[in-house]
Symmetry: D2
């Protein structure tokens, strides 16, 4: 098994830093460079590298590039990577939405490189076979990962009551808001607080959640998605409330999830009576799901991940393993 | 205006301590004793008193007793207070449920004094007129306060779609779990964590939420109530998701709440675009509510309180003010 | 007793916000304006005012101005206040250092208005008589307040061994670093962390600590002052380690502190065996001190305050009360 | 290289849980059992085992036992281990103090097995050669580890001024207080707080700090040791203040530390201008040290560790590696 050489763009953000940390434990990925404008010249933690400016690096000596960049910036680098013949693992939103029109609706800007679309959505538990061996992958957002993992078995077996809203009350730690300082992420504003933001139908992640959910099952009702900023550094919980249709009763949902996720190495379904909590997944690359039957036709699902791991960088490496033919969990357990 | 003399049972718990703190700022309530078995002999913070054992005090010199006691224990003291002719402000669950049978269902024990039932439910924004001048009041639980305040205007004007579940995804700080040490409240278990517990239909507070909701509007569907333990010390958020019936559209809900709560001194309705957060209410005796129209017939309501203030002790004093004919907000703003 | 009209410059910072909050509970101070460039037009919490730009206000209708401004900016406003005949309560560092040369040494900039110096140092427990009735006061910094209160009785009775260093290991919550966003105050950088900064002899507050300490006792050795950023929002602890001279033994220090602080309304000396902790003072305007005899000639003193209250805004109001002839604790207990 | 079989006593405490977690990543240690009375029958996280009662296990199939037990309980098991011919890694205080009399002084109880004393003190950076191949090791306490690592180079080269106190202002997260629930570790008591405890000369860890320090250099003055409970779950900082003797100046201390720790795999000495912080070491098995020259003859040293890793369980494995002839850092980096 060969070692692949990786270039990391945006290595000084929280996703980038976690990516380097994971790669440092991966036996078959060698980091070659990590870019940062702000921190250029400083040592990259968990590596022997120093941050370098993005325009100082070449794609000649890498096999794969990771794009932990803001949207808009990522697409341009993805284009260069494709042209240079290196594999591209995008962690931004640029390649997640299949249609430039829908992208423009949610991101309020013209897509910089629509010719790259569509790209396979890198959620291995749903799209594993399509991810194997591909050259470009769109790593999902953190909220969509937890939400889609929580809903997938019900969507897959067509057990959701059509037309009625699916409620997703979500909570995420502050690293989900990025490393750039702002009043929103100031310690004294967040500490001891809990804040909803962009609730209902206003958050951008609804675009990719509904896009991917509808591919599996296009008869479901609208996703009502209300995120909250949690006073912790990392961890994400999607609390999902679903009305079942006549094909399913809530007491059978646990068995359904076990049958679908039983062999999944990166998703744990908790036994009845146990709840998924942040601590179970923080600093791991796995998700955990717990299920509470509420009424005969109503179920409450808790889906948790580390927003920077299974929600971003851990999943990026899971995809990388599939793209290069490595064991899917290599370096992740 | 006369000063009333107050005895506080269970003064060393978190609710009791906050009660003493509020009373210390109240111009017309004089604390006469505060009981505690564990802390007997120690100074009571924010007062000139020391904790005394409950069996060492007499009701002869008090006008009102506050019962910040565990359920079962409170009812017995309430009985004694009634017999002694002092007013009783119960902060426990014992007097909240109108029917002994329903109490037994939710608390898994025979009601110790069913002859005391029913007692007026002390949520002034709903039952103000009934609370004025009464002798015994049942102060609501923290989750029911936030949830009922968040739902009340919709219930009152009959705007909720019948039969469909109302989702209440709730989050509360650790003081909500009481001061008795346990692994659940151990710092290292809670810190950086978020944990659901007793979700769906399992939590005791559903009993009083549905009892009071049905008094206003008995055509609503079941309450789906999922509480979570937040890694903060105080503060409570009920995130409420409601399907509206044909009499209402979501864009009119804000005006409805303003019309019903506009003159309420202890409830703030936030303007469109602002969200209710814990920080706005922690260490205050007020609640705050924000409203997000989601779909034409679907609305997301965020209702926040300090679980120990508007959720317990602040509300107890608000009731006390009404019971003794004081200005309702005396000592609370 | 007349009500005074107050203008607050820098009302949107953490000190300014706390100042407005305290004033809202003060019976004899009426806030007239609060300035902010960034938040101009928004409501000022705990008041009926909106933030206004600083150049839009006049000093014609105020009796006192509070300067919760950055150093350099404050001196200019202080000058204008003096010229307009209003009293000036400066919360910045500009008026604390008596000599422009020493100011330049610690702040690395020429003092903008040396003609204002020296100004009375507004620590009432030490300088009460001098503060009464004056027109301009320099409110001490948060670290100097806790440190000087902790040392004062030993300095006052000349009980400190000369020449040997006095160790001050200090810890402060994040509001001490101001409200302007930076990576230093980013939630994810501070949470779960503890960081020393500018330790030894590097922090600016050494200037005013030694200036005021030497006025009382100029034979003491150097202050070794090591601050740390605590992962809490507010609260400050100075842990002070002092070698006593032959005039004192450590078992008598508690009595000394009781004799000096026994009548102080804003400083509590804790009984032997009790420790001063942040919780005892956060959100109060008081300090607390505990004393541990370590060796016959060695003592450990813990001095705690809320950095925004007794450490800044509460103390500013304590000074204001003295300057206007009000009861010193008015609005503060 | 053979795999050794390990039995873990006290596996459900915080030290025990971290030990199992570290062992799960160690290529040459196989966990055979983990004991717990309270959690018997439940799954042990990060392993395939379930907790078993301590009296249900045999020493026949293990090569080493780890004692993550309370003091007094540990010594008895150590005795049994010695008699059974298995290696013993004690994480309790029972084997750290060389003399039963000194043990009794600090632990206020007769030593249960004085015949086991003295045992090598398992701080590899100081006692590496003595630890190699031994059968019983006493793993140091968390405060002593950070403090001794911070002082060792100065002690070793005899650079400390005799007679004057060495000040150690220490801070530790809540896992340092163990997992047994108590009011001290209740979330709502610790959150937003900072509390000194057993300051000066009262904490038990002074016994082993001075014992080991005096072995290296018996002319130093008394250790003044003031621990504080930090509102974080893990991490420990010893802030050390030392007067140097004439053989050393503060500007040479950094070079001294580099020369002594330069080849140490588990201790990082930070370059001038950088400070050791909790985040640098939490969840790692390493310590970090930063040095600030304060005066010519005075230095401030910050020494940080994860109290459960380099402070307990990580160090236990470092010792185990030395005892069994493995690479010292195996499974720890």
């Amino acid at each position: 098994m060969t070692t692949i050489r990786a270039g990391i763009y945006g290595a000084s953000g929280y996703a980038g830093l976690d990516l380097v940390d994971i790669i440092s434990q991966h036996p078959n990925i060698e980091p070659v460079f990590g870019t940062s404008n702000i921190y250029a010249g400083e040592a990259i933690p968990n590596s022997d590298l120093v941050f370098v400016p993005p325009d100082s690096v070449s794609l000649d000596n890498v096999d794969v590039i990771f794009l932990a960049l803001p949207h808009k910036a990522a697409a341009g680098m993805a284009k260069k990577g494709v042209e240079a013949g290196v594999k591209v693992v995008d962690l931004s939103a640029d390649l997640r939405i299949n249609s430039p029109e829908v992208y423009e609706k949610y991101y309020d800007t013209v897509h910089p490189h629509p010719e790259l679309l569509p790209v396979i959505y890198g959620l291995p538990e749903i799209n594993r076979e399509q991810i194997k061996g591909i050259d470009v992958v769109a790593t999902p957002g953190c909220y969509p990962t937890a939400t889609l993992l929580g809903l997938y078995p019900l969507l897959q077996c067509d057990a959701v009551q059509p037309n009625l809203p699916i409620v997703v009350d979500a909570k995420c730690g502050v690293t989900g808001a990025g490393r750039k300082p702002s009043l929103t992420t100031h310690f004294a504003e967040v500490y001891s607080n809990l804040s909803p933001y962009k609730t209902g139908r206003a958050h951008r992640h609804i675009g990719e959640i509904e896009q991917e959910a509808h591919k599996i099952n296009n008869s479901i009702g609208p996703i009502v998605f209300s995120p909250h900023l949690l006073p912790v550094d990392r961890g994400l919980m999607s609390s999902i409330y679903v009305t079942l249709n006549d094909s399913m009763t809530s007491d059978k949902v646990y068995d359904l999830y076990c049958s679908i996720y039983g062999d999944e190495p990166m998703v744990d379904v908790l036994p009845p009576g146990k709840y998924a909590t942040l601590k179970q997944v923080v600093k791991t690359n796995k998700g955990a799901i717990s299920i509470t039957p509420v009424l005969d036709n109503y179920v409450h699902i808790t889906s948790v991940i580390d927003n920077l791991r299974k929600g971003t960088s851990g999943q990026a490496i899971q995809n990388t393993n599939l793209m290069f033919g490595f064991e899917e969990t290599l370096g992740l357990l």
